[in-house]
Symmetry: C2
Subunit: 312 residues, 2 copies
Amino acid sequence: MMSGDNLSLWNDTSTKSAIVGYVHAVTDPNNTKFVPEVERVATFDNDGTLWLEKPLYMQLHHLIRQIGIVAASNPAVRIKQPFKAVYENDQAWFKEAAAEVSKGDLTKAMSIVAGAAEAFEGMMIEKFNANAYDFLTDTRDARFNVPYKQLTYKPMVELIHYLQKNGFAVYITSGGGRDFMRSVSEEIYNIPRQNVIGSDIEYEYKIDSQGKAQVVRTTKVEQPIDNESGKPIHIGRTISRRPIFAAGNSDGDIEMLQYTKSHTGLSLGMLVHHDDADREYAYDEGAEQALEQALGNGWVIVSMKNDWKQIF
Amino acid sequence: MMSGDNLSLWNDTSTKSAIVGYVHAVTDPNNTKFVPEVERVATFDNDGTLWLEKPLYMQLHHLIRQIGIVAASNPAVRIKQPFKAVYENDQAWFKEAAAEVSKGDLTKAMSIVAGAAEAFEGMMIEKFNANAYDFLTDTRDARFNVPYKQLTYKPMVELIHYLQKNGFAVYITSGGGRDFMRSVSEEIYNIPRQNVIGSDIEYEYKIDSQGKAQVVRTTKVEQPIDNESGKPIHIGRTISRRPIFAAGNSDGDIEMLQYTKSHTGLSLGMLVHHDDADREYAYDEGAEQALEQALGNGWVIVSMKNDWKQIF
């Protein structure tokens, strides 16, 4: 049986029933809650919803690696942060940066990213794609000892396929780097590159030394970033249809879930709860408000511990 | 025979041979120029490439109509432009605005649009979509006496379908208003709403008086606008793959055509030339540089007069 024919990696809990019941309702032409295929849009956050986000966002690790590469070959940049810290392997600086990120304040995290983005300045978008792909393929997680791109939550990947088989157009809408995720989204999720929405750096058009037209990365962060109220805004811009299904795991997903639940038709909002320290991590940090609002808003809470047969 | 099985609305000229020869080459697995389906991306400008842009951009007419509606019900706005001119039917003001637009300077045109956008401020994006759809369905062109949405160039619509049947993902990338075009793109072109790239106004997220989450229009123009170097930038952001086929009709399309022709594989760039005063209009204004560069860059020039059996 192919992934997506049913939810084989999900335990038979009320969570699974809620998902299956929902999908049956909106796909059955005889059901009063039926939704035509063209309107079946599902949006998923990525970090912590579809793949591992601890102990450090994979994207942050990627930036740090590139900062190290640039600092190693260019002494001039070593006088400033974050190049100095990376070149000198300044663990105290790292800890501080990680603490800011783990507070869930992505605006601040993105300003770190913007500084670090200098390391990718002027890189052709095709080359960045290949660079990110190699990173996610070659870098192994310290705890799980497998390449990053294998650390997707398999029940969630199965859910994506299940929705696709039921006529849903599935999108990623993540606070993290759009192009970083696009490098692997087709391979690991079966989500087309153009269906990946995220935050990213602005581009610039130029003619290169060979007379070829290129699009390259700058260091300026595109506004708004794709988090909190930026998520519904990006959804409107890119998809132009309101989701009827949305999944997240943190406070940055609240507005996307509100927007989805405000659909005039039947919708489903889902929050992945990290409650499995043995198989993944257990933490509520950065998700306190979302968890508090879930019950009142009718969002389905997914317990990684109780609802999933396996994680990776 | 369904539209798109062949190019039945095109005369048997070298233009048609160039298109058909190109599509055969990139879709034949035994051809050295074969391009896998996932990489077959085609981008089309809209105004003057897929539909009529004279005597006034349809979108500008739409804005003027809405300005009139707002001015009629709100005396306070009538003291300022463009509300005053529309309310008083000030033909001199109209002429001046039209002259700026016809110069092809879209940066200036977009600043007019931004001022006029006030008329749509705070409108939910779903409501704007319906509003634009009704306008394009109900408003008849003075010369051709049919609704605007019927004034697409039928040979170009056939070309879109032909490319889609040959495995191309077809996008619109227009300097004009994205959401305006999205309202009809599925019906008139068979292009999904999310495949329409264009310039537009920034959005805002809010909770309405009924407690529902909404995305509404502001008056600020999103940057960069989708014209000139903005086109390859928007293509990179949205599609994340370089087109192998691109069609335009004016100087604003030059960078998109350059970007396409800089693809490492075989690509085709096309310029629609308005040379048929009898059946449409004859003008080179705003396309002088593009026409001049076409030969040297190997872009195919489409003569509306000689290459098309019918226009509308």
